[in-house]
């Protein structure tokens, strides 16, 4: 069977991809997706470790995480909506009325 460390490496990779997405993408929606990637990286970990530790806590927690991600996206979309209404754009670097 495959050692847990490989799962960890995979999740880390996914996490980093998400991170890079967050840092490079200016589109709010892409930003959101990147965050989702990071969350799923966490899920990979949780499930892998659940298996590894032989208890279900991790898997249950993964479910929570997904639900949570969904809620987050819901709120996020709402905000992105009003963002577009006010700034006519979904570029996250546009709104800079407040700085320093």
């Amino acid at each position: 069977m495959i050692g847990v460390e490989y799962y960890v490496l995979l999740s880390m990779a996914v996490f980093c991809i998400g991170l890079v997405g967050v840092l490079t993408r200016r589109n709010a929606l892409t930003f959101l997706m990147s965050v989702e990637l990071m969350l799923n990286a966490a899920n990979i970990n949780l499930i892998a470790f659940a298996f590894y530790h032989g208890n279900l806590t991790g898997q249950v927690f993964a479910l929570f995480t997904m639900a949570l991600a969904a809620a987050e996206v819901a709120v996020g979309l709402g905000i992105i909506l009003v963002l577009y209404r006010n700034f006519r754009d979904v570029d996250v670097t546009v709104p800079t009325t407040m700085r320093w």
Binding site: S11, M38, N45, F49, Y52, A71, E72, N86, V92, P95
Partner: protein
């Protein structure tokens, strides 16, 4: 006290009451979303938060959570993943107080807002989350409570849909927030990976080697993994408490959000963040043992964070033009002060420093909320946002301005106001901790420098409202009942808490004692 008859789950009363209130408001909202029956809505919200407050105080007095040895009822485990002890109740009180204050203030602030019910329900919902955070003792419940607090907050910040500032604030808050929570959750997964548990107590047992991880491996092999996880947890909490480097959302969010919401986030949300921080790190990663596992005591991390956060917050605040933004940065600075409560901990003790941090959070709940509410009042008047716009307000609204002066001096830690004791006790605590680890001397020194600097910008605001002459063109200022009431209550509390500081100290030290040593 009839508390013995109550079933255990009622121990969560303060939070549950808020939850019920929130649901009630939701129900109302779904029935008539466009209702502008402000009395009813605000009234319900206030009633809910005050009841929660009353119950929390009652439980504290009744001795819920106090060790049975001291004639209390001992710590109560209402349900899996939650615990009600003095720490929890102490912060439930803070949350309830702040909620009540800002709800009362919102009554006037939102006078011409379209979706009243939605607003109040979100506020109370967030309050529920914070209240639960105080009691959560498993990473699962913590995460849920935390998100329950966060998600409504995002919406609340952005609730002024047609105000670019509000929306921008909401966006930034949300983006940084989601990023942080992603990191936080990943951290949880790593901790889980290292220990195989999510309950704090269980984690602690594994860390201290009492029981071995589910997989039967030796925890120390996982030291790096656990350490990374812990760091990521810190990140999540740092976001909640607006500590460097996860603070970037704070200035904009506080500045752009409706002032009562800024007050809410900077007082209650911060406090909730700290209670979780305190609980997780004291219960799950006991000092001393943890050192053996990850190679260092996490206090080091908090020493660094405290120093950086204090300094950045205060220095950035010193030259702001917008009052609200100044308060935002000062709130970051105070997060740094509160972090000293963790930085000063040692394997054997540290109640004093952590207790001091808690006292500070309580007093802060009054003075900082009050300050933001004064800004809310100013926004209500429409005088403007900069220091210059505030010039000579005292001439027209002496009472409110006197209250504001009280808040400012209290924030600066000048007697005879509550902020004095909490800040100087924090100083004392830091020095006491310094007797154990010399690094804390640096923290104490930085605290001195920063509080001196903070004196400058706080008094700058006092100067604006009390010393400068008012501009010729400024018409009469209204006296909105709700805002005034909230501000005056906050001010009075800030003052009377000084002579009445004895009980506060006892409560805070007991609360700290519940998790430390």
């Amino acid at each position: 006290m009839a508390i013995y008859e109550l079933p255990e789950w009622t121990a969560l009363g303060p939070a549950l009451i808020l939850a019920v209130t929130a649901l009630a408001l939701f129900a109302f909202d779904s029935i008539s979303p466009r209702s502008t029956n402000r009395q009813l809505l605000a009234g319900t919200a206030v009633a809910g938060s005050l009841t929660s407050l009353g119950v929390a105080v009652w439980f504290t007095v009744a001795g819920v959570g106090t060790p049975t040895a001291d004639g209390g009822n001992g710590v109560i485990d209402p349900t899996h993943g939650f615990v009600v002890d003095q720490l929890a109740l102490y912060f439930m009180i803070i949350v309830a107080v702040v909620t009540a204050l800002i709800v009362v203030a919102s009554y006037d602030y939102l006078v011409d807002h379209a979706y009243q019910a939605e607003y109040y329900s979100l506020v109370i919902l967030a309050a529920t989350g914070m209240s639960l955070m105080a009691a959560a003792d498993s990473l699962v419940t913590i995460l849920i409570a935390l998100e329950l607090a966060s998600l409504p907050s995002y919406a609340l910040v952005a609730i002024l849909k047609d105000n670019r500032g509000s929306v921008e604030a909401g966006l930034k808050y949300f983006l940084i927030g989601s990023l942080s929570s992603a990191i936080f959750i990943y951290g949880i997964s790593l901790v889980y990976g290292a220990t195989g548990h999510l309950e704090l107590a269980a984690i602690a047992e594994v860390v201290s080697g009492e029981t071995e991880a589910g997989s039967g491996h030796d925890i120390t092999e996982m030291g790096g993994l656990l350490g990374l996880g812990i760091l990521m947890l810190i990140g999540g909490f740092a976001f909640k408490t607006a500590s460097v480097p996860f603070h970037f959302w704070a200035p904009e969010a506080y500045e752009g959000a409706p002032a009562p919401i800024s007050a809410f986030l900077s007082s209650a949300s911060k406090a909730a963040g700290f209670v979780v921080l305190f609980r997780v790190f004291t219960e799950a990663f006991p000092l001393g043992e943890i050192g053996a596992v990850i190679g260092f005591d996490w206090t080091v991390a908090f020493i660094v964070l405290a120093i950086v956060t204090m300094t950045l917050g205060n220095f950035a605040a010193a030259t702001q033009d917008s009052v609200k933004r100044m308060l935002a940065y000062s709130s970051i600075g105070h997060a740094g002060y509160a972090l000293i409560g963790l930085a000063g901990l040692t394997a054997d003790g540290g109640e004093l420093v952590m207790g001091a941090a808690m006292m500070h959070l309580l007093v802060y709940g009054f003075m900082n909320t009050g300050a933001f509410l004064f800004v809310a009042l100013a926004e209500h008047w429409g005088v403007g946002r900069t220091f210059e716009d505030y010039n000579g307000l005292a001439a027209q609204a002496p009472v409110a301005c006197a209250a504001m002066a009280v808040f400012m001096f209290s924030l600066a830690g000048i007697p005879p106001f509550g902020g004095f004791f909490s800040k100087y006790f924090l100083f004392v605590g830091a020095l006491e901790a310094a007797t154990a680890s010399t690094a804390m001397l640096v923290v104490a020194a930085v605290l001195v420098i920063n509080s001196a600097l903070s004196l400058y910008y706080y008094s700058r605001l006092v100067k604006a409202i009390w010393i400068e002459d008012p501009p010729a063109t400024r018409d009469r200022l209204a006296q909105p009942t709700g805002l005034y009431a909230a501000i005056i209550v906050a001010a009075v509390m800030t003052i009377v808490i000084l002579p009445g500081f004895g009980p506060v100290v006892d409560a805070a030290l007991d609360a700290a004692g519940a998790v430390v040593g």
